[in-house]
Amino acid sequence: MTDILLQVENLKTWFGSGAGAVRAVDGVSFEIKRGETFALLGESGCGKSVTSLSIMRLLSQPAGQVVGGRALLEGQDLLRLPEVKMRDVRGGRVAMIFQEPMTSLNPVLTVGEQICESLRRHRGLKGEKAQAALLELLDAVGIPDPRQRALEYPHQLSGGMKQRIMISIALAGEPELLIADEPTTALDVTIQAQILELLRTLQKERGMSIMLITHDLGVVAELADRVAVMYAGQIVEQASVREFFNAPQHPYSRKLFDSLPDINKRKSKLAIIAGSVPNLGQEFKGCRFADRCELAWQTCRDVEPVWQISDEGRGIRCHLYDAQLLSGRPVSQVAPVVVEEEVVPEKANQQISLLEINNLKVHYPIHKGLFKRRVGQVHAVDGVSFNIETGRTLALVGESGCGKTTAGKAILQLIRPTAGTVYFQGTSLNDLRGESLRKRRADFQIIFQDPYSSMNPRMRVADIIEEGMTALGVEVSRQSRQARVDELLTQVGLSPSMKYRYPHEFSGGQRQRICIARALAVNPKLIVCDEPTSALDVSVQAQILNLLKRLQDELGLSYLFITHNLSVVAYLAHEVAVMYLGRIVERGTVEEVLQNPRHPYTQALLAAVPVPDPDSRREISPLKGDMPSPIHPPAGCHFHPRCPHAMPICHDIYPGETVLSDKHRVHCHLYQDSAC
């Protein structure tokens, strides 16, 4: 039994008290062996973070209470340890890293001081010795020039660097167990690949255990040895990663896989999980997933499934795997329900250009000093050209800070472009001012990333949807507007009776639907979708993607789809443009760009996306370094400092456009000759 490091038994954490207490964690048991990576997988609100906080005893008191269970760290129950001893465990034996590296570091202390704090507390190192240990740690997490970096403040470091510093603080106490709570969610894919690689090497070198908390199947496949799926406060399935990815057993796990968008599912609807996570403030009678499960029968609603462990050590909480109960299943349902594979025919390319962008530039001046002299400018968007045809989707892909959102807003004239032209159906939007621009606004609309901040919390849904119609005079009479609101709500899959509610009464996915309805209200031809699904869970993302696809087919909409998520691109887009530091480096049809990427950046971006398949664990070394600042973009090709194929010419000259096919264009010196 010595190889078991942490054993959690029947952990129960409730918020509040009495009958209405929220059972955030309700009887969770698992064990973590030495040197293994254990992943806790689940969507937001399933209780995975609360589980880790309960083990660390970091729950916000007095709201959260551990009401039962044990968490044995080598036989010692952490939940009953006095607080003084617990402080030795935290950071010393069990360390934790958090999702948001920006807010986890103290901005007024140098990173060196923050690491030394942990060294002093847990290893009693001071002075010279601490300094040596500090440099060793920074080196271990792959920080270049550690002596210099140790003296810097958090704001001087990039997001990826900060997460590395967080990891080095966690490592300072030489922990046996590292709890990583969504360690890469806030990071870009290329940085995520770096951090995952780092965690993997560190684990190999130090032999520590990692408890990985994540919602991303790809990350699990990359890193974990064993995985437990959480749903509504319980673990519903537990297996080794290989078994799990080969054959997920629980209906919920299967649904999670089905709702992942990818290029092979382009022609069909994504599977969705109907309904939403049940309210945890109640006593459950049957299976918690029963209401959303297509395979459920009466027993599922009456009898709570028990935790069963199969011979191979796989655990599952589902009646489908209980031979005794399964026999009682109505015959009509025994036949596997075939998920309706609705084939959506791709419409013929109509080749009518709707939007044409030429050499679009948005520069922000930087003013400094007493007289606000102009000392430089941020090249947020620096010469972007593309066009979108009617009824087609162009995906603008890039990492955060590459200027893709700015480009979207500049097209809508929410930000006035510095240079370049935007032609919408032949009209130059740049030249429109005041009233004439206002009249055209009905034609192009926007959907935002964060469904929580994109609606005025003080307005009712009907008023929100109506706002555009009133402003643009789409429907003149009040009755017809109200009728239109009802129609729109139905169109996006909500009930018209919801229109008198306030936004806070809706879930994230429902809010995004309302935002779509609001945009549709003025009958636009083009919708700029600014990361519309990145704040949503996978199953909800599938719903929104399905909706967007259906609306495109029904209404012939064009989308400019701004995203960093390549699997969404593969599912939804017709054409792709990859942006790096304000410029498009490659564009073409989805098949061309995703299956035959030419630009080294596109290749790196694609390689960095974690694939939900443990067998395809890549050996590609992730892209080095961070994206440079758009204030001082590198001379020559912007990508050359990070490019594995950089040549001397890349340092000096920005590569021109190379036409590879009808649609496929790339800006890279590697292909210049072939075109000549």
């Binding site: 901040s453 003080r458 706002e467």
Partner: protein
């Protein structure tokens, strides 16, 4: 439809009130005097009622107030504040008593003294003027006087008061017993009044929630109701007991003593309540338009508008406020001295000075809120819903009215409530410096100002200061506690720190 109904009912109430007022004016044998601050106070009250009616129809406005009502400390503060408010409002209805017809003229003559309803209710206390200082509950003056005895000799002694304890034959022996008796009977009366109120409240609640009265009684007493009625009842009990004690005792004694000219100090403190409330509320009324318009304009339009507004408020806030106030008040004083014909009564003069003080305080104090609103508007204009509105081509002023203003109202509200107590204190300081309200007007600042000399006397005269202190302390404390409750209820971070944030 519902808003229409509300507007309708509010107008109805107003019409009814004004009809009643006209009725009263024409039939009562008094001449009503409408002072400037009275008008503003009643406008303010009407605005508050209008807002309450509006808020009750809008869930997002009603929810935080419900939160305030659930806060135990908050409701205690509300009970005490409303007691002050009632006194202040009673003191804001002014009239002039008719004079007895001496000259047999056809036209009715009115007294030059402008009285308020409060004055009228407290007539015995107001008219019970002694010669000079007397201590609380004293039956004799605090200073020795030479008295002619019937036999012609002169003695220096502490003469009996004309009103305080005048009903006693032998004050030394009877006084404590009399005080005790009066107190006990007032406590008993207070209990009866409270019990009646409690029964009325519980039966009202019972009818509202459709429950039997006995069950409702149990719920209320055990604190199982949504609004902590048991706490409210407790606070009311304390308030009623003190009110009864003060009422009964002040009829017989000067419970807070008398001042230099023999006026009852308790009466003066009561009169000071209105001054404090007027300063605390009207100043905000003056300040709000500046702060809201300038703050939102600066934050939303940025650019030149922002530069100009920032420049104005930075300049204004770098001039010491007291300097501006002193200058304005002195100018007003000169103006009033040269134009005595404009003011019919002394009260009107004092009132105009009070109003001016409010205005000038408001002009000097809008910068803080303006700065806050500028920052908030700057944050909000980048919010996605404002961007969406821009994408719909909604006009700037509509965006401000529909999206920005409702989303900064909580800040405005919090700062009004927070500013209130500091303004009440500011009045005290300004009057002490000599640029506050008119010296003839009762105010805590003036009481404290005169206490400067009283504290230097031997033996020391301490009660005016103590009386002013107690009343001001209770008002400021309950205003602060109320402000805390309001801020907590409106702060989205605190609200979110409940269950949802933990999960």
């Amino acid at each position: 439809m519902t808003t229409k109904k509300i507007i309708g009912s509010v107008t109805l109430v107003f019409v009814a009130a004004s009809v009643l007022l006209v009725f009263a004016v024409s039939f009562l044998p008094v001449k009503f005097v409408v002072l400037w601050t009275d008008v503003l106070i009643f406008i303010l009250c009407a605005m508050c009622m209008g807002f309450a009616a509006y808020a009750s129809q809008h869930e997002h406005l009603r929810a935080p107030w419900r939160e305030v009502a659930r806060d135990r400390v908050g409701v205690i503060a509300v009970v005490f504040l409303s007691a002050y408010l009632v006194i202040g409002l009673l003191d804001s209805v002014h009239f002039r008593m008719p004079l007895p017809d001496v000259k047999q003229s056809t036209e009715q003559q009115y007294s030059n003294d402008v009285l308020s309803v409060l004055d009228w209710m407290a007539t015995p206390v107001r008219e019970g003027v002694e010669k000079s200082y007397s201590a609380p509950f004293a039956a004799h003056l605090y200073v020795k006087e030479t008295v002619d005895l019937p036999d012609g000799s002169k003695v220096r002694l502490y003469p009996r008061l004309q009103h305080g304890g005048a009903h006693l034959n032998n004050p030394e022996q009877e006084r404590s017993g009399d005080i005790l008796n009066t107190s006990l009977s007032s406590i008993f009366e207070g209990m009866v009044v409270w019990a009646v109120l409690t029964v009325l409240l519980i039966s009202w609640l019972a009818r509202r929630h459709h429950r039997p009265v006995s069950e409702m009684f149990g719920l209320v007493m055990r604190g199982r109701t949504e609004i902590p009625w048991h706490v409210i009842l407790l606070a009311t009990a304390i308030l009623i007991l003190f009110a009864m004690l003060a009422m009964n005792l002040s009829g017989k004694y000067h419970i807070f003593g008398t001042d230099k000219v023999g006026q009852d100090t308790f009466y003066q403190t009561l009169k000071s309540i209105r001054t404090g409330l007027v300063i605390g509320t009207l100043t905000t009324l003056v300040m709000l338009p500046f702060a809201i318009l300038a703050g939102i304009a600066a934050g939303y339009f940025r650019g030149l508008a922002d530069d100009v507004i920032q420049y104005v408020y930075t300049t204004l806030s770098s001039i010491p406020g007291v300097l501006l106030i002193a200058a304005a008040i002195l100018m007003l004083q000169v103006y009033m001295a040269t134009h005595p014909e404009l003011f019919e009564t002394a009260a009107a003069r004092a009132d105009l000075r009070l109003l001016f003080l409010c205005i000038i305080l408001g002009v000097t104090s809008w910068t803080g809120l303006c700065r806050l609103l500028r920052g908030e508007a700057m944050k909000l204009r980048e919010m996605d819903y404002i961007q969406a509105a821009v994408a719909f081509g909604v006009g700037h002023f509509k965006i401000i009215g529909r999206h920005i203003l409702p989303n900064v109202m909580h800040i405005v509200l919090i700062s009004i409530v927070l500013d209130f107590s500091s303004l009440v204190l500011a009045e005290a300081v300004l009057s002490y410096v000599g640029v506050g309200v008119d010296p003839t007007m009762n105010s805590w600042g003036n009481m404290i100002n005169s206490a400067r000399l009283e504290m230097a006397r031997e033996p020391i005269v301490w009660w005016p200061l103590l009386a002013a202190f107690i009343f001001m302390f209770v008002l400021v404390l309950s205003a602060n506690l109320f402000a805390d409750a309001v801020r907590d209820a409106f702060d989205p971070r605190l609200r979110r720190s409940g269950l949802r944030a933990c999960l």
